[in-house]
Subunit: 340 residues, 2 copies
């Protein structure tokens, strides 16, 4: 069973992933590419993944057989395990709990396509609906407080060697530090201004224009003012909403459009760079948190896209400061100019 | 002039490094190795660096001439600029200031040696004394609140292509988020227990033994309980001290010994892996901070060594959680067994 361990000084939780553990001597030497295997995510290879949790497929087809549009399967090397209780406990001054959670792979298409931006808007809409369905399903499990949906594209961004477009989700029994920091920051702003900080940011960005990459169909893609990475891009709904899962079908289609266009600009303009994206939405509302009172007014869901074109070094790890070697205004100007 | 920009939601500062800025199209494509150039850090090439700020050299030798043991020069592509005022200001809801600071390169030896662990204990003692001298000198500049000393070893850890052992320091006009988090966490523990959390941790580690790598001469090297990275190692003085610069010469020699041995174990056991290390010490004591009152009792300086053997991916960036694929107990056992 993996363990969740808490740094006693700053309270940062770490997953000690025993299920994925490698032997110490396996870390020596360079990481060579394993030989290319037949892709287990392609149609016809359903027996090479764990049984599906969810699929979009005609009723005439059987589970784990061909004929699907999209499948969700458990990770074969999960960071967290679905069975068991949390069993929070101490060990001297240290805190830990069992690594309970869900870790699922969303196979976004039955075809061997590498980049989500090469899927149709219709297919990406299905992917977004799948995210929503899976979050809503996992909310029923009372052990979980948050679901992070994310994507690793390209080796430098943490993806495996298999080039078949997929996203992942991890349901966690605690609220992640980064999300808490956003909730607290947004609440403090709301307490003072009685306005959502994200809504104010969107307004200022649309007025200034210099960091706007796309402004279409109720969504905006911007290079954030304090970008950590070159070409970092956030996609936000222009209409206030704290909860990603509350999007109607029309909004999902519009989100699919701006996500496809943004990622296509990155792919075309920067020669298919490695990137991560993460969806930040409100936690499950199942307990009184310090930051709870007005969360639906305070918080604003968004997607953060982080191209991985620079290396993170000692200064960043030591300080929590990031160094971005490209002003976001220049990044936005460049991406606006890439025709897709 | 680089800019320091603050994320308005979570308050994270970012350096937008205009002096190092690349054009957007320079990020496209893969990062190929530049051709090997003659090393500007070797003795006899003093004219290939900016003029030295500090050097250990016989009085009979001239500045910026051969004959030195160790030199400190300004970075040729600094993240922050030494001239100018901070000029804190707003831009709508955003906060920024000028990127004022110091960025120095500590050339640890005149010989073309790649890894600090291959220097003599005597030479490493000189490096440690140099860190202390430079921090003390930069403390006189009233614009600075903190100096981070760090090292990037190997390409994946952010080092350049030149294999000549060196460290860096950056003096910043604000206290870094990661250091503040440690100060606040340590203060909270002290308020409750009236004991230093680091001292308690050291005691527990020495009792448990399973995460101890080295225990010699007043210092301990441990794999932290909540390690973020495989083989993460912290070196701490066993005697309480908040301030790295207060070490006497005897302690510096002992620190040189444990640092050399720890890094030699990593090099030998893991085939010279890329790593970062950072020194966390108390900030300059020049203003009333919320966490100030008892900082000399609360806080405990230490060195964090982070081998870079895994890739950081979407989940980590999205949550602030880390996933460590090797239990620290196994890492410590492995490193204890490496003979150096």
């Amino acid at each position: 069973m993996p363990e969740l361990r808490k740094d006693p000084i700053i309270g940062r939780w770490v997953i000690i992933a025993t299920e994925r553990a490698r032997r110490p001597d396996q870390f020596a030497g360079t990481q060579d590419s394993p030989p290319e295997k037949p892709c287990p995510f392609c149609e016809g290879h359903e027996d090479q993944t764990p049984p599906e949790i969810y699929a979009l497929r005609p009723k005439s087809t059987a589970k784990n057989s061909p004929g699907w549009d999209l499948r969700v399967v458990p990770s074969i090397s999960p960071f967290l395990m679905i069975e068991g209780d949390l069993d929070r406990r101490g060990k001297g001054l240290y805190d830990l709990m069992n690594g309970v959670g869900a870790h699922e792979i969303i196979i976004e298409t039955d075809e061997h396509v590498d980049n989500i931006s090469d899927l149709s808007e219709e297919q990406i809409t299905k992917v977004i609906s799948c995210y929503i369905d899976r979050i809503n399903d996992l909310e029923k499990d009372k052990r979980f407080k948050y679901v992070l949906v994310f994507k690793n594209h390209g080796w430098a961004a943490g993806a495996g060697r298999l080039k078949h477009t997929r996203s992942q989700l991890i349901a966690t029994p605690i609220n992640p530090k980064r999300v808490k920091e956003e909730l607290v920051g947004a609440r403090n702003y709301y307490d003072y201004h009685e306005r959502c900080i994200f809504c104010d940011m969107i307004k200022q960005e649309l007025d200034t224009k210099s960091r706007v990459i796309l402004d279409i169909d109720g969504f905006v893609a911007v290079a954030p003012f304090a970008s950590r990475f070159p070409f970092e891009t956030w996609i936000l709904p222009k209409k206030h909403s704290s909860d990603f899962t509350k999007m109607d079908l029309n909004s999902r289609t519009m989100l699919a459009r701006i996500l496809k266009m943004t990622l296509a600009k990155l792919k075309k303009g920067l020669n298919d760079p490695p990137y991560n994206f993460v969806i930040h939405t409100t936690p499950f509302k199942r307990q009184k948190l310090g930051y709870w009172r007005s969360i639906d007014n305070d918080y604003h869901w968004h997607i953060e896209i982080m191209p991985r074109l620079t290396r993170v070094a000692g200064f960043e790890w030591g300080t929590g400061f990031y160094i971005c070697p490209l002003p976001p205004e220049n990044a936005a100007e460049f991406l606006r100019g890439v025709q897709v």
